[in-house]
């Protein structure tokens, strides 16, 4: 599992953001280290703290570093000169809150440094989609030998918000299949079903019909797994 380092001017901002992200991953969070504030209660950043945080959670799987702004970026780049880790360390250009949440969820399901970095980088797409601003990147084209499709009406009250989206991403790990989801009701998608932000950008609400399409050796099983999740309301039905 890759590690995530959170660099902020403010310890409270860093802790609150991590808290928000951890709400989505349950019992198996990725390694997370915070480097926030400089010295005694000073709002600021300290490159040596960032380096220590990187070293604390580094592994051969790599570390992705998130920064809030300004000197956090300078301190993080400087920290790369101070770390003793041999694992790969990358600095993410993602927006702080959205990027950390996307990264924590994906890292928790065992995604690679490349995958997590890419997902975090695109983390603004969900908000753009919610605001009806254009989301870059075209629809995902799916083709292949084994193909499967299923339509399912969303029954959970909040639709495909962050926790159901995370549940979908997690459920698909391990399947040899590529899946997309589109919202037939609002016409959005298809989006990559392995992308938390992609799923959230659909803005799918209760009552919407989503189309789950898959290709690959285990497409049927994967589509069936998502159907079951959706039919169960992602465990969010009242009384479930």
């Amino acid at each position: 599992m890759i590690g995530i380092v959170v660099v902020s001017h403010s310890p409270r901002l860093a802790q609150a953001t991590v808290e928000l992200a951890l709400e989505m991953v349950g019992d198996n969070p990725p390694p997370i280290a915070i480097a926030a504030g400089a010295g005694d209660g000073i709002i600021g950043t300290d490159a040596t703290k960032v380096a220590a945080a990187i070293d604390e959670i580094s592994s051969p799987d790599g570390v992705l570093v998130f920064m809030d702004l300004g000197s956090a970026v300078l301190s993080a780049t400087m920290a790369l000169e101070f770390t003793s880790t041999h694992g790969e360390v990358r600095l993410s250009d993602a927006p702080f809150v959205e990027g950390i949440i996307a990264a924590v969820v994906l890292a928790a399901v065992g995604a690679s440094l490349d995958e997590v970095e890419r997902e975090a980088h695109g983390a603004m797409d969900a908000k753009r989609g919610q605001l009806d601003h254009s989301v870059p990147g075209g629809p995902v084209v799916v083709s292949g030998a084994g193909e499967a499709t299923a339509d399912e009406r969303l029954v959970n009250p909040d639709g495909l918000h962050s926790r159901p989206a995370a549940a979908i991403v997690k459920a698909l790990v391990g399947f040899d299949a590529k899946l997309t989801i589109s919202d037939l009701t609002n016409g959005k998608g298809p989006v990559n079903a392995a992308s938390l932000i992609g799923i959230m950008s659909l803005g799918a609400k209760e009552g919407d019909v989503i189309r789950i399409s898959g290709s690959g050796a285990e497409a049927h099983a994967a589509v069936e797994a998502l159907r079951t999740l959706a039919a169960d309301g992602f465990g969010e039905l009242p009384g479930s």
Binding site: H9, G37, A38, G39, I42, I43, G44, T45, D46, A47, T48, K49, L69, G70, S71, L74, S75, T77, M78
Partner: protein, 214 residues
């Protein structure tokens, strides 16, 4: 001590004078920073340079590289704002370039400060006219080199550097910031001196004071 070199004591005096100047000008630096930034440059630099003098005041640095490594790391850990990594990098590079010398002649000091400036540029990605400390530092080093090339001693060269740093600082006033917190303000950042360029002018005022004759 010869007229042509900066001794370890003089280099330490440079830092001490810089601490005194940023302390004296603390409210002014913060006032400049409150106009276009986050109003902490004066307090950050004062806290950082006080921490530096506390660290090196205890003595122990036997050579220029040790001295400036200690200065750079102390700034990185105590300043908090962008000036921590930026001034920290400046002094760390000076130390790395100067090596284990106990005094620097003009050429060596110039090469060390030049490496410091390159470190600042690599760190902050600033260019001329971005309204940053670069706009005071780059002309100061050019003037320092030109003065040495004309046969001046360190006192005259550092004085020329100070004059050029002040001119560079003043030239930041009409500029629109393209780096740092001030860049969020866009054109509203014009009409104010850049706080970083202002503290950099103090850095060269301190150098000129430390290397002045007599």
């Amino acid at each position: 001590m010869t007229a042509g070199t900066a001794s370890l004591d003089q280099l330490t005096d440079w830092l001490s004078r810089f601490r005194d100047l940023v302390t004296e000008q603390q409210s002014y630096l913060t006032e400049l920073d409150s106009a276009i930034g986050d109003a902490d440059h004066g307090s950050n630099m004062t806290r950082g340079m006080n921490a530096v003098m506390e660290k090196i005041g205890a003595g122990g640095a036997g050579a220029v590289d040790e001295l400036f490594k200690s200065v750079g790391m102390t700034l990185v850990t105590s300043v908090g704002g962008a000036s921590g990594p930026l001034y920290g990098t400046f002094f760390l590079r000076i130390g790395m370039t100067a090596g284990a010398a106990t005094a620097l002649d003009g050429t060596a000091l110039s090469a060390a400060m030049r490496a410091g400036l390159e470190g600042v540029v690599a760190r902050g990605k600033a260019e001329a006219g971005d309204k940053t400390m670069f706009d005071a530092m780059a002309p100061a080093l050019d003037a320092f080199d030109a003065s040495l090339a004309a046969g001046d001693d360190l006192a005259a060269a550092s004085s020329a550097a100070f004059t050029a740093a002040v001119a560079g600082r003043d030239a930041t006033e009409p500029l629109t910031a393209r780096k740092g917190r001030a860049s969020y303000l866009g054109e509203r950042s014009a009409g104010h001196l850049d706080p970083g360029a202002t503290s950099t002018a103090l850095l060269f005022e301190a150098l000129a004071g430390a290397l002045a004759k007599g």
